[in-house]
């Protein structure tokens, strides 16, 4: 008899009897394997070769996927909050019966996870905008997402929370920061390094801290709310255009680079502490503006020894309008490539120089290569993160395509949302372990 996922079956193999529910195959499983959830909760894989399988009950468990949803929760507080989910670890849950990863969340589930919402919100909207891994987001999605956020800002909500996968959070944060101008409220992007179905998830604290931002933050900026320490001691509120994921897995992977985080929320007292007074105050609602076109004709190129300069020509010939380089040190590429970059400038392609050291500022005046690059038309991106420079150029080329190259160049060098920090004090560079 044929069996399918969700059926309860009995398998007899090598004189051993197994009973359990057939689970859907994972992409890692071998062809001949039937995956069973036994009554003791364990999953085992059995080869169906020389095994007898008998279906005991059909469709004991259903594996249907829920449709993306919009749900609401009305609480006893006075905050109107919109929670927009794009997917990612923070909203993914493993279903213990099916083993499937469910990348969705409802308002009820969110309140169950963070009971603080109950007393704080008057209305909580939970909308699943996307169900995507963050590496699958595109500039097109930044446009749609910023549109959804702007709609809610205009409707007068007290805060917008965006659940986002952590891998490309910096890109989305920067995209929102550039496109949502004169924000009357903070926009908080929140993620998790440990999924929210784990008892040790960092999502809860990151979300709790976000609520504090809506009630206490004096700034109207796009920020990222993530753990500041491996301990559950405090959450940092980073400026979206200055934050970067600096570790592949730690809770405190997100750190402000070349800047100080805007604030921290201390646990368990939940005290909100402003730690950077260089911020953009909340604007008036009527000044809020959405400028959200992004060009997909911008490339981010990391320079390396032996880099073939023809690659630059290839991109220009393919129609790219902007090239952001991650150069070495103060912002260099090999001398041989300077001519190719000069050609790009002649053809009206914008070229930007950032540094792969991440920390510190680009300076093209110190060495002759740098001076030649300036001559070839390269824009030094100051202390901007390469990803932020990339998004900024994409936004300028998308939203201001009626402007001349020189005007866009001028805009690029303007500090729009504190993506540039002109003063680096000694303490903003981290300390590493050096023995003892």
């Amino acid at each position: 008899m044929r069996f399918k996922p969700g059926d309860r079956v009995r398998v007899v193999k090598d004189d051993v009897v197994y009973e359990g529910i057939v689970l859907p195959k994972t992409e890692f499983s071998s062809e001949d394997i039937i995956m069973l959830k036994l009554d003791n909760g364990y999953n085992v894989g059995l080869s169906v070769e020389d095994a007898q399988v008998e279906v005991l009950n059909e469709n004991v468990v259903s594996f249907e996927f829920e449709e993306p949803s919009q749900t609401f929760f009305r609480g006893g507080g006075n905050l109107r909050i919109s929670f927009l989910s794009t997917g990612g670890t923070i909203v993914s849950k493993v279903d213990y019966e099916t083993g499937a990863v469910k990348p969705a969340i409802t308002a009820a589930e969110l309140v169950d996870m963070v009971p603080d919402f109950k007393n704080q919100v008057s209305e909580l909207e939970v909308l699943e905008v996307y169900r995507l891994f963050s590496e699958d987001l595109t500039p097109k999605i930044w446009e749609e997402l910023s549109f959804e956020v702007a709609k809610r800002v205009k409707s007068g909500v007290d805060g917008v929370l965006i659940a986002h996968g952590t891998d490309t959070m910096t890109y989305t944060a920067a995209a929102l920061a550039f496109s949502l101008r004169n924000l009357p409220i903070p926009i908080v992007i929140v993620g998790a390094q440990r999924s929210s179905d784990r008892p040790s998830t960092d999502a809860v604290l990151n979300l709790k801290a976000s609520l504090k931002v809506f009630t206490e933050a004096p700034f109207g900026e796009v920020v990222v709310s993530m753990h500041g320490h491996t301990s559950d001691e405090y959450v940092l509120i980073h400026r979206g255009v200055k934050v970067r994921k600096m570790h592949s897995s730690r809770r405190d992977a997100f750190q402000s680079i070349n800047d100080v985080p805007l604030a921290k929320v201390v646990f368990p007292s939940m005290e909100f502490k402003l730690i950077n007074d260089r911020y953009i105050p909340r604007a008036r609602l009527e000044d809020f503006e959405l400028i959200n076109r992004f060009s997909d004709e911008v490339a981010l190129i990391k320079f390396y020894p032996g880099f073939e300069c023809d690659l630059i020509d290839g991109l220009i010939d393919k129609g790219y309008k902007g090239l952001v380089f991650e150069g070495t040190g103060l912002g260099h590429v090999r001398n041989a490539c300077v001519d190719n970059i000069a050609r790009a400038s002649e053809l009206g392609v914008l070229t930007v120089m950032t540094t792969q050291t991440l920390f510190g500022r680009v300076n093209l005046n110190v060495y002759s290569t740098g001076r030649r690059l300036i001559k070839a038309g390269v824009i030094p991106a100051e202390d901007m993160l390469p990803e932020v420079a990339f998004v900024k150029l994409s936004w300028l080329l998308g939203s201001y395509n009626h402007l001349s190259v020189d005007e866009i160049k001028r805009l690029f060098l303007r500090n729009l949302v504190n993506e540039i920090n002109y003063r680096h004090e000694d303490f903003i560079y981290p300390r590493w372990y050096h023995g003892d």
Binding site: K13, D14, D15, V16, Y18, T26, F28, S29, S30, D32, I33, M35, L38, D39, N40, G41, Y42, N43, V44, G45, L46, S47, V94, Y96, G99, V101, D112, M113, Q193, R194, D197, R198, P199, S200, T201, V204, L205, T230, S231, D232, E233, S248, S249, R250, R251, P268
Partner: protein, 638 residues
């Protein structure tokens, strides 16, 4: 009282957890050795949270603490834990050395390996796992182990990660060291096929020996843990966690059977009294006013801390609470366990045990009066607590009392060091198990199985022939040894001293001398493995003669602790040859006349007298050589 376990329908299942001695941990490359006091460490603090709907098996206390937001502090000893243990990095692929050892055990237990191994997450919220779950996987199912009383089935063989080591606990926090977290554990669960306490010990011993013979398991305190499940007809299947010593197993089972029988008697008595659980009503009354002038320090202390005295009346229960269910544990003690586990209170005081704790007979009576109870028929339970804890504690006590009408409630219990047990938590439904999505399935291929064949531990027969052929033991001793728990001690000692002390010397010490001392009425349990180590160290280094072993051990036991084994070893230190020669010369000189008179008997005369002086201090063969040599020289001279 002789108990017929077969008639009672005793069924016992064993669950054995054994740490593996792999190079790295199950899901990272950290060493599996524990940190020392001086290992530098940092601390990390976390909180856990679980949606209530996701909780399977939990301690009520742990759940309560978690909901209250208990801080969990982790000591991170440098060199013994990395980001994986800290829950800051996904697990690495499963340790194949551990998988192979487990497969070897699967084969040795006649079980069948699954074709694909999936690692699961089992929710644990007491903080002993940084992730909030334990990773565990079924590797084999459906085996058996032979036993004199019939085959005992093996249900599952799992490979899992050990939990962190609890080092401290206090108000609002608990502290663990991360060194133990992630050490591979093999878990063997038998079917409930065991029918007597002795059989349980025997099967546990056999499983323990099998594990040890893989040569790949950790040894020493805390490296092996036994859980039991015990049921009798009419009773319930009770899980008992954490039996630390093998020898305790029969006692734990006997005491559990006794407890179940007593609980059934209590049930019958309650029915005989015409009581029923429906008629029992839950009322909690503040009776603090009875104790305002109390002489009881216990109560006074509590009152001075702002606590109150709360009472739960139990109509018709007079005398029930003092029924002894296990040695030193009354039905009241069972209720107290519930109060502690659910209410976090220090315990309860019940009317059956009063007057006690400085509480007077008059106070006892006054509580009866305040509660409108009849002191000759009824009973009550008191607890010293704040309002909220008292409510939780007495509610739990009340639920437990209602269960007295059913008999034996399903519980998970913890073993005490004396073999009795105490309530730990309710028995879980099926555990909530989530797939560990960070680890791909592992195909158990033919190659892996071939590889595992090499790690399969020898069977008892194979061990026997190894003892005879490689250790040169006489067959009868070897046969006795493979069936005796002392085999562990034997193998340990051979491992440590086998190069300097012949294995047969070790075997006869254990199987002949120790047994001899036992039959003479000595308590040979005082001769620990450490004592034996000291003795064989002496033999191995030539400090003492092997002949002195029985005497040293006997003197050690006779001295009843007044002489240390080190002292004795020193006292029996071997004579130097020059000293022996001097003694022999003296003896010959003293017996000169009889020697010359009876030359044929000369050797016996001298040997006898010398041995009286040097017995145990030097090998008899050496003495004989010296005597022979000296005598012939002496006679030649004459």
């Amino acid at each position: 009282m002789e108990i017929n376990y077969e008639e009672l329908g005793l069924k016992v299942g064993l669950e054995i957890h054994q740490q593996l001695a792999t190079k790295g941990k199950l899901f990272c490359s950290c060493s599996t050795s524990l940190a020392s006091e001086s290992t530098p460490k940092v601390e990390v603090s976390r909180y856990l949270r679980v949606a209530k709907s996701e909780i399977g098996e939990v301690d009520p206390a742990a759940l309560y603490e978690m909901l209250k937001g208990r801080k969990i502090i982790y000591e991170v000893p440098r060199g013994h834990a990395c980001l994986v243990e800290l829950d800051e990095e996904p697990p690495h692929p499963i340790n194949m050395e551990a998988v192979l050892i487990t497969l070897g055990i699967v084969k040795a237990l006649n079980a069948k390996p699954v074709d694909e191994v999936y690692v699961m997450r089992k929710i644990v919220i007491d903080g002993s796992n940084t992730s909030g779950f334990q990773r565990t996987a079924v590797v084999g199912v459906g085996g058996f182990i032979e036993d004199e009383n019939g085959r005992v089935g093996i249900q599952t063989i799992c490979l899992e990660e050990d939990a962190a080591r609890k080092v401290d606990e206090g108000k609002g926090y608990v502290k663990y060291n991360l060194d133990r977290l992630g050490i591979p554990l093999v878990e063997i669960s038998t079917a409930p096929d065991i029918k007597s306490p002795e059989q349980a010990l025997r099967v546990a011993f056999k499983l323990g020996l099998l594990l040890r013979l893989t040569g790949k398991v950790k040894r020493g305190i805390g490296t092996i843990r036994q859980d039991l499940n015990v049921s009798i007809k009419g009773g319930s299947k009770i899980e008992i966690k954490g039996v630390s010593k093998l020898e305790l197993i029969p006692k734990v089972i006997e005491y559990e059977v006794m407890r179940q029988l007593k609980l059934l008697e209590i049930r019958d008595e309650l029915i005989k009294r015409g009581l029923s659980s429906e008629e029992l009503t839950y009322v909690v009354k503040d009776v603090t006013q009875v104790f305002v002038n109390t002489k009881s320090n216990l109560v006074r202390n509590a009152l001075s801390k702002g606590l109150k005295v709360y009472a739960l009346p139990l109509k018709g229960f007079n005398g029930i609470l003092k029924v002894e269910v296990q040695p030193g544990r009354r039905f009241g003690t069972e209720l107290s366990d519930y109060a502690k586990a659910w209410g976090g209170v220090g315990g309860i005081i019940h009317s059956d045990e009063l007057p006690a704790y400085g509480i007077s007979a008059e106070e006892k009576l006054n509580v009866f009066k305040v509660l409108n109870l009849d002191e000759s028929r009824d009973a009550y339970v008191l607890t010293l607590a704040d309002d909220e804890s008292a409510e939780r504690a007495l509610q739990a006590v009340f639920e437990r009392v209602k269960n007295a009408f059913v008999g034996v409630p399903k519980e998970t219990r913890a073993a005490n060091p004396d073999g009795t047990t105490k309530y730990m938590r309710p028995q879980p439904g099926a555990s909530r198990m989530y797939p560990e999505t960070d680890i791909p399935p592992l195909r158990i291929s033919e190659e892996l199985l071939k590889e595992a064949e090499k790690l399969k531990p020898p069977t008892p027969d194979e061990l026997l022939s190894r003892l005879v052929k490689e250790h040169n033991l006489p067959k009868p001793i070897a046969e006795a040894l493979v069936r005796d728990p002392l085999i562990h001690t034997y193998l340990n000692l051979v491992e440590s001293f086998g190069r300097s002390v012949a294995p047969h010397v070790i075997a006869s010490t254990l199987m002949i001398h120790l047994k001899g001392l036992k039959s003479q009425g000595f308590d040979v349990s005082l001769i620990t493995e450490e004592v034996l180590e000291k003795v064989f160290e002496g033999v191995g280094s030539g400090l003492i003669s092997k002949d002195s072993i029985p005497e040293i051990l006997k003197e050690y036991l006779s001295s009843k602790g007044s002489k240390s084994v080190e002292e004795l070893v020193k006292a029996y230190a071997v004579l130097r040859r020059e000293d022996l020669e001097k003694i022999v010369d003296e003896v010959i000189e003293r017996n000169r006349e009889s020697i010359l008179a009876k030359e044929s008997k000369a050797f016996n005369i001298v040997m006898g007298e010398v041995m009286r002086v040097v017995r145990g201090k030097i090998d008899g063969k050496i003495v004989a050589d010296v005597v022979r040599e000296k005598l012939s020289a002496y006679l030649k001279k004459k």
